[in-house]
Structure formats: structure tokens, C-alpha cells
Symmetry: C2
Subunit: 478 residues, 2 copies
């Protein structure tokens, strides 16, 4: 049984018609948003531009309307990318047309100055009067591939299990594009900007109850109602994993957030306590964000806190051991049976069958050895999860890892020293020795790994942190 | 005036002939090392294998010798990849042939057990007797493109300004390959393993006085003579930047290091103090290592501690402000003239001309705007260095950044949200909007940027840390 406000937000993601103010034959931001809807093949898009409509010109091949009321069909959603002075009047037009929700891409309100805050309040009053909801101002709005709603050109049409809420539109955008390469797809993305009306908590609650969203990720500057957020976090974190990139840790960051979206960032250490208590994963940058999203896409939760480190290069094995201990993981005590089995597989010297397990240089040209060693360790009942350091990911790795993970059902975090998405062409003369997965295939492989409890990381610290969070969240979830 | 021991090590990098024990027609590690010398086109390579020599078979196309004494020319350097039981006898053969240095690839000594430590001491005694030097055991040895000395197949033949000393052979290897993609090249690489004879300090001192090495980077587990290292660090850090990846921070890491190269890692916080006092940059993983090496390849030192942050995406601007303050940098107070100039360049709303400077979404399709804004900020006398967050690196970016950096002579750190080396093909449908630098060109561009004081980073934290270190080291250097 969903609430009335849940239904109201869900309606915004299912508009029958979308009108866009601020489009022009010369291009510009509004036209970029229009292109987004065209690329997604949204069925009923209505660009609005009085001059173009009068002269009978099309924009991006679409008929243009002089105003909202001339549009024949229903318009549930309006996107505005116009000068801030024009917003109020257009909003009234939206009300008259029985529009359900308006995305205010336009900036120059609460984040700009005090009078902007006042003008924001006016807009909310108008919206209330006409029973409309507002997203923004100063935001990108929403992206929902299932219903063809978009906020930028060329976004993927496929849906995925991840919902993303962001105070920054550009971060939502960048994440979307970076995710293409990593094979991660989204159920819904929301960039809500200044949050004059609908705010973080509204969307957080919505995604919490959204059956299409299995993981919630967020970029957050400040929250208006902290107490409500805490209640929501407690409830939602029991149902699905939550990943938050919270900025404003320092006074410089706090000032920047205030001028970016007019946010009050709040006390960072207090936030940290709330996040920690609810098993919410906190990340610090885009790279960590996307790696963690990958890990939680279809997570495999470990039964305990003991990790086995397997590495070809001996050095990263040591560094990974540091990273695990620093992140609260225990190095698994490999059982004598496994040590004995390993001793049959890996060379006697220049290797180690104690955890961290160092496979030595031999694996550079014997991937069979690596496969057998990983199998033996993964099957050890004393091992709850694996951190595997690979020089570069090869095709054989992907297949073997998927097979092993399916058998043992333990989370596996992979670290690669050489950029994951580098194509074999880029490897120059070492092509024959290393043959990494080429770019185009990498995306598919990464998707398959993420969907099967295998996550990919640029550093051993990120991998260890993610494994700890899988453990921590797994316990909380029970 | 160089010392006798400096000359002795320098000779190892200039061998007239190299013999390799442990090669086989079936392949294996020794044969991999042989392939390394063949790929580098080293002129006088002598594979040794009594059986193959007797049957007249060639290995990898080269004549094989039954033993050292049958080799007609001088052999200055010997590489051994044989069972540990055979090392002692072969070492005596080396002495009889007046070999200058022996690389003991073979493991199974000091890192393995107590008797291994004893056997290591025996080897050193033999070496002393014949006036030979040992590298290893349990190491890859040396790579020096200028003299065609190698430790792995397919390494680059071009030299560069970076010297790398590593207790882990595989890390040296991985760094080398990852560096190909980043356009970073090396003067010398040394993997010294257990350091039975020549140890970290020897090579550290050597690179300190090596005119071909302008930057020293190290992967380090433990040092045998800490007091001597401190003296060397004080002296060398005044001449060239030093970057150290020191592992063994935790008890798990310390145990792993002991079993990897028999190292005693020492007190980590004591190490940190020594590093800090001498302006030595400490890194924690491969990713940071290579990014920092890039930044110090041909560094541009800032005149002060004030950084300007420029970002298209507003979110990363906030996060970058956090990262700068956390790393001890000050956010530059942009001068009123620059703020005024910026106000003419960037849109009024949805942007910020206060530091961090948020260029808004417009830059997605107007790189001219971005160029002008970066120019204005870079020229501001209140700005000592720049941190620029880019969604993706485009060809125009590279050219503009190089031109601006040449003009202002301030360090620039670039952060990209989307993997740096991703080819445009990999971008799928967003090709036309983003057009990132394709992989093959990226390597050349990255080399050009690193050579001109522009460094590239995966995260804002790495970028801020590197900028702080450029500042810190610049002050120390004076």
C-alpha cells in the first residue's frame, strides 16, 4: 500500500506528455534537454517557442507550439530552461493547463541571493495553488529509461536496478555516462537542485518504496529536514543498500555547497554517525561512487569478516593486507587442507600459500595455475570473501571468476593495476603477453561481473572498503 | 666526482655481455627473461643450457652455451633463474669467469626460512671473494633502456627521467606497462628482492647521483639500515623529488612483507615522520604512484599555497574544495578583476565566479567558454595552482591547457570523472557530445602534459594531495 505522496512522485515519472520551455533553433541548454527526449524516443514531446511557432519553423524536426494551451493532448510534465524572470508567469500557465509537475532547470534563485530565496517561495505557493509539484530550481530533473523520460542527450534506454538522487545535475550526468562503460544501468535518476518543493527526503522515500530500485545511491550537499531523513534512513536501509557521496566536510566545501545549491551542509561528523549506524556506505569521489554502485548492484553478502587476498604480484599482496586491516577486515586463516592443495598448484619458491596468497610471476603465462589457486582458496570454508589483485583483466579471468563465484557464492573484489577499460590496442608491444579485455567487450563483462557479486576497483583500499561494507550491510540486513 | 661504489653499480647497468642460466626450449621464467633481452635488442646475450648446447638446439633463435667458460666474449652480468640448490655452484663459475654482477631471480632463500638466510650469507661470501656484486635473490633485477638491459619482455626502449627502485619485481613490471599508456618513461628500474648484498640504500644513493634520473620513485617493504637511509634521504631530497610507496602499515601488512621479501617493515609512524621531514611523497597504491610520478616528471612548483578550482560539474567543485582543505591547501581569493572578467565569460545563473569556480552546464557544448575562463583564472596573481575537474578530456582541452600552462607557469592538476584512457569507440552513443581523446592518442597527450607541469588524476583527493606535495617540495627545494 503506497502513500498518496509516493503516488504523486511516481506520476511525475510517468507523464503522458512533456512540454519544454526555452528551446531554440540556435541550440542552447533547453534544446539539449529536448534532444534528450528525442533520443529516448519519448512519444509526446512539445517544444514551446512563440517566435518559431509563428514562423512555422520546426525545432530538431518537431512541431513547435506558441504556448501550453495550444498543445492538443495532456501535458503532465513541463521542463523550463528560461530566464529566471520568466518562470513565475510560465508556472501560472502550467497551472492553467493542469500540469502535474514542473522541472525548473533555470538557476538564479535560492542559490543566488536572498531575493532568489523569496522568489522560490513564491513559485512554491503558485504550485500549491494549482496542485502541481516542482523539481528544482537549478537542477537537471529526472531520467527514467522505462518511461523514456530524460535529462540529457544520448542516455541509455535500458533500465537497471540503481536509483540515483543528486543535488548536482552534472554529477548525475557524468555518472550516467561513466556507467555506460561499466555496464551499470539505472531505474531512475533525480537531480533536484535547490529543492524548493520536492526535496531529497521526498525522492529518498520514493526510491525506498520503488519496486524497480534495488540500490539507492546519492550525491548530497545538504538536507533540509535532518530528523525526517534519519527516520527514512533507518527504515529504507533495512530494505535496500544506500550509498551516499556527502560533500561539505570542510569549511571550504561547505561554502562551495552554499553557493552551488544554497545548501546548509550540516555537521559532518554527525552525518557520519547517522550513516554508520544505518550501514550506509559513504564515498568520497566519483570513482568510489561508481565502484561501490557496481558492488551493490546485485550484492553477494559474506557470511563473516574473513578475507583471502590472492595476488600475482607480491607487492600488491602486502599493500592489500594493509588495506584490509585498515578497513576492519580480518585476514582469513587458510585451512591446512587448502595450503596443502595450493602447494601442489603454485611453485615452491617466490610464492606464498599463506594469506595473502602470492602466486608469483608464473601466472603471467599460466592462467591455469591462477584459476586452480583461486578455486582452492574460494572453496575454503574459512574464507568469507576474496580480494584478488590482477595486473590486467583477461577474458579467461572473467569466465573463471564468474564460474567460481557461482559455485561458492562469496563476494569477490577485483583490483587491477592497469586501467580496466583500456583496449588491447592501447597496450602496444605487450599485446601478446597481456591481452587485456578490449574496451567494447569490457563493458559487457563488467556488467556480468557486477550482476554476479564480483566488483571492480582501481585500488586495494577501495576494494577492501567495499568488502567491509558488504559485510557490514549484510549483518545489518540479517 | 662519483664514489667507487657508485661506479660499481653504474657498471652493472652497462654490461658488455649478459649470460642467462635457467633458459629452456620449453619456456619458463628464465626464458621470459631471455625474451626480455631479445626484445630490447641487447647485443651480446648468452643463454646457458648444457643439454640444449650438446644437442646443438637454439633457444629463441640464439646459440646456447653449455657453461660460462665456453662463452667467447666478456660476461659482465649474469641472470640466474634456477633451483636454489644450484645457485651456489653457478655463482662460483661466475667468479671464475670474472663476472661483475649476478642477478638472482631465484627465490627460496631468506624470505623462505632460516636456513635460506644462512645460504644467502654464503652467497654473499662467495661474491665478496670474487669481487662480484649480487642483486636479489628473489628479484627481477634491472631495466635500463639506454643500455638495453631488461627484466621482462616487451618493455619500452625509450628512456625517461624516472628511476624506480622496488622490493617487488612484479610492481616494477606492472608500473612499466601502466606507464606505457601514461606516456611515462624510465631511466632505470631496479627490483632488488631480499637484498642479500646490494640493498635499497645502495640503489637509492646511486639514483641520487645518477644524472639520467630526475625523479626517484620507490616501492618499499623494509630497509636494513634505517640510519643510513635517513642521511641519504636528507641529501637526495634536496636534489630531486622522491616518491615512496611504503607498505607494512598494519600488522597484517608487516607479516605479508616478511613472507614476501623477508623484510622487517619497521615502525610506520616513524617512517612517516622521516618522509614528511624530507618532503618525500608517500603514496598508498599503484594508481597514486603513477599519478604522482606523472606530476613530478617535469614539475612546475607553485609560488604559494593557493589553489583555484575550476569545474564544469558543480558537484565535483564542492568535493574538490573539501579535498583541497583536507590536504592543507588554501582556496585562492580570486581577485575582483578576475571575477569581473569571469562574469563576462560565463552565464549569470547556474554558475559561480567565486572559488571554486563553477562553469555550469554550458561548457558541455562550448569549449571556448571553458578555455577563456581557465585563462582568466590561471592569469590571476592570487592563484598559485589550478585544480580542474573535467567530465572527460578532449583534444581541445589538451592543446589549450598546454598553451595556458606555458604562459602562466603554474602547476595544473586535472581530474576526470570518466576513465582517462577510454577510447571514443567505447563511449557508445555519446560519441558526438563527448568525443574523448582516443586511447592511442591519449598516451602521447598524457606524456606531453606530464612533461609540462600538467598532471592527471582519477580523484580530486589524489589531485589535491599531489598539488600540496608540489608546493611542499618546492618550498623545501627553495
Amino acid at each position: 500500500m503506497v502513500s498518496e505522496s509516493w503516488k504523486e512522485i511516481d506520476d511525475i515519472f510517468h507523464p503522458r506528455g512533456v512540454a519544454i520551455f526555452g528551446v531554440s533553433r540556435k541550440g542552447g541548454l533547453g534544446t539539449l534537454l529536448l534532444q534528450g527526449y528525442i533520443d529516448m524516443e519519448f512519444p509526446n514531446i512539445y517544444p514551446i517557442n512563440p517566435k518559431a511557432a509563428e514562423s512555422g519553423n520546426k525545432i530538431l524536426g518537431l512541431d513547435v507550439f506558441p504556448d501550453l494551451k495550444s498543445i492538443p493532448g495532456p501535458v503532465d510534465l513541463v521542463v523550463m530552461s528560461v530566464h529566471p524572470k520568466l518562470v513565475k508567469e510560465l508556472l501560472i500557465q502550467c497551472g492553467e493547463k493542469s500540469v502535474r509537475a514542473v522541472i525548473l532547470f533555470t538557476a538564479g534563485f535560492g542559490e543566488f541571493d536572498e531575493s532568489g530565496k523569496e522568489r522560490e517561495r513564491e513559485l512554491v505557493e503558485i504550485a500549491r495553488k494549482y496542485n502541481m509539484r516542482l523539481i528544482g530550481p537549478n537542477c537537471m530533473g529526472i531520467y527514467c529509461p522505462a518511461t523514456r523520460v530524460s535529462f540529457f542527450p544520448a542516455l541509455p534506454k535500458e533500465s537497471g536496478p540503481v536509483g540515483f538522487i543528486s543535488q548536482s545535475g552534472s554529477i548525475a550526468n557524468l555518472l550516467c555516462f561513466a556507467s555506460i562503460l561499466r555496464g551499470i544501468r539505472y531505474s531512475k535518476m533525480i537531480s533536484f537542485g535547490n529543492a524548493a518543493d520536492l526535496n531529497f527526503n521526498d525522492f529518498f522515500e520514493y526510491l525506498g518504496d520503488d519496486p524497480e530500485t534495488r540500490v539507492i545511491a546519492c550525491y548530497l550537499e545538504g538536507i533540509k529536514d535532518g530528523q525526517h531523513f534519519i527516520k527514512l534512513a533507518e527504515r529504507i536501509s533495512k530494505k535496500k543498500p544506500i550509498i551516499i557521496w556527502k560533500v561539505g566536510e570542510t569549511s571550504s566545501g561547505a561554502r562551495a555547497a552554499a553557493s552551488h545549491t544554497g545548501s546548509l551542509v550540516g555537521n559532518y561528523s554527525l552525518w557520519t554517525k547517522i550513516f554508520d549506524k544505518n550501514g550506509i556506505v559513504v564515498v568520497k569521489n566519483h570513482q568510489e561512487l561508481i565502484e561501490t554502485i557496481g558492488a551493490f548492484t546485485n550484492p553477494c553478502y559474506p557470511q563473516g569478516n574473513s578475507v583471502a587476498i590472492i595476488s600475482g604480484p607480491g607487492g600488491p599482496a602486502v599493500s592489500s593486507a594493509d588495506a584490509c586491516e585498515m578497513n576492519g577486515l580480518k585476514l582469513a586463516k587458510i585451512s591446512p587442507e587448502t595450503v596443502q592443495e595450493l602447494s601442489k598448484i603454485i611453485p615452491e619458491f617466490g610464492t606464498s600459500s599463506k594469506n595473502p596468497i602470492d602466486l608469483g610471476l608464473q601466472i603471467s603465462f599460466d592462467s591455469n595455475l591462477e584459476r586452480k589457486a583461486i578455486e582452492a582458496v574460494a572453496r575454503d570454508p574459512k574464507v568469507d570473501m576474496l580480494l584478488i589483485y590482477l595486473g590486467v583483466i583477461k577474458k579467461e579471468h572473467v569466465k573463471n571468476l564468474l564460474r567460481i563465484q557461482k559455485e561458492v557464492q562469496k563476494p569477490i573484489a577485483i583490483v587491477t593495476a592497469i586501467d580496466i577499460l583500456t583496449s588491447s590496442k592501447g597496450m602496444g608491444p605487450v599485446r601478446n603477453l597481456f591481452t587485456p579485455v578490449p574496451t567494447r567487450k569490457a563493458s559487457r563483462f563488467l556488467a556480468e561481473m557486477n550482476a554476479n557479486g564480483i566488483s571492480l576497483h582501481m585500488t586495494e583500499q577501495n576494494a577492501a572498503k567495499t568488502l567491509w561494507h558488504l559485510y557490514h550491510y549484510g549483518i545489518k540486513k540479517g
